[in-house]
């Protein structure tokens, strides 16, 4: 069995633009879910609104397509109502950081047994390229035509600070590592947050000097700084380049989790 069996074949091809990285992230997530060996009846995919949140519509399992930013709130309800279900949340950066930011930090604080895969394309892709909280400084979007002047949100650092059990960040170029990270997140009891940077050729790349999809992939690949290397640089007291972002497993700990299935006590 491969991850292709988890797709609704009659719904494909999906409506994502040519070169959009969201399809890659769905592949990696489904490959990890497939490797866990879960039954399709026991798995629920939840999403909010946005490009990334169309993902559960292409998956055969039960799914919830909920209101904007409230995917985590609905997922919490699903998990608390039936702790035996495996809940995976697909969400985007506008969904998670901008509108659902409050739900995000409180889900991290409660440490509910969810796995959240955030497809961070650094822009509101579906509505026409408005600047999102994760748009890097100086990047052009339709609401920041002279370049964004605000510092961007680091979602992984936020999740670590708020108390998530497992936090990792990878990109749509690092598919194998991302698959492994999602699998570790699924195995971890408690809140697991996997941030995946994806390319958005239509609304981000087009305005920011990445005319071809490959250009943005090359940029993402070249500016990823492994966590081990970041730690080494910090040890040697060297400066970390400002335009690089850290990838890798950023946090793994075992705080008490909420919403775990009660283990059956044998008499």
């Amino acid at each position: 069995m491969s991850f292709e069996d988890w797709f609704r074949q009659d719904r494909l091809p999906h409506i994502y633009c040519a070169g959009c990285g969201n399809g890659t992230i769905i592949n990696c997530t489904l490959a990890a879910v497939d490797a866990m060996g879960w039954a399709k009846e026991d798995t629920v995919f939840v999403s909010g609104i946005g490009c990334s949140s169309r993902a559960p519509g292409y998956i055969v399992t039960d799914s919830l397509h909920t209101t904007h930013g409230r995917a985590l709130a609905f997922a919490t309800g699903v998990k608390m109502a039936n702790p035996k279900l495996h809940v995976v949340v697909f969400t985007g950066d506008g969904d998670l950081a901008a509108i659902g930011g409050n739900h995000f930090i409180h889900a991290c604080r409660r440490n509910i047994d969810l796995t959240v895969v955030c497809m961070n394309n650094q822009i509101y892709g579906m509505t026409g390229g408005q600047g999102s909280p994760t748009t890097p400084r100086g990047c052009i979007s339709t609401t920041t035509p002279y370049g964004s002047t605000e510092p961007a949100f680091d979602l992984s650092e936020l999740a670590i600070a708020a108390g998530a059990n497992y936090v990792a960040r990878w990109t749509s170029y690092h598919v194998k590592e991302l698959e492994r990270a999602v699998k570790t997140g699924l195995e971890t009891p408690g809140f697991s947050f996997i941030e995946a940077l994806v390319q958005c050729p239509t609304n981000f790349g087009r305005r920011n000097k990445f005319r071809q999809v490959a250009d943005q992939i090359e940029y993402i690949k070249a500016h990823a700084l492994l966590k081990a290397k970041r730690d080494r640089l910090l040890e040697q007291g060297e400066r970390i380049p400002e335009d690089m972002y850290v990838v890798g497993e950023l946090m793994r700990r075992s705080r008490p989790a909420m919403g775990l299935a009660p283990t059956e006590v044998k008499p």
Binding site: P13, H14, C20, G23, N27, A214
Partner: protein, 90 residues
């Protein structure tokens, strides 16, 4: 096993040409009926998964399939090679 691209799903983003370690995928030249330039396969028998899937009994490499955002790349089973008798009439 044989590598195949599903032309009804491919959107021509050419991401597969970036990730294959053997550079099996080449940028296509002619648009197909849907107006999409589908990548061409350059000697696909070099693919690791094609050669060794049955020997190892599991998926190998598979980066192109994971990377393809449109789920267009897959492997199909091949009929084993059968020598044909050719009768030559003089």
């Amino acid at each position: 096993m044989k590598l195949a691209i599903d032309e009804t799903r491919c959107k021509g983003c050419n991401l597969c040409t970036k990730v294959c370690p053997y550079k099996i995928f080449k940028e296509g030249k002619l648009p197909n009926l849907r107006g999409i330039v589908v990548p061409e396969l350059d000697r696909p028998e070099r693919c690791t998964n094609c050669r060794l899937y049955h020997l190892y009994g599991r998926q190998l490499c598979g980066v192109c399939q994971l990377t393809c955002p449109d789920q267009a790349i897959h492997w199909v089973e091949e009929e084993p090679y059968e020598p044909h008798k050719v009768a030559i009439e003089y």
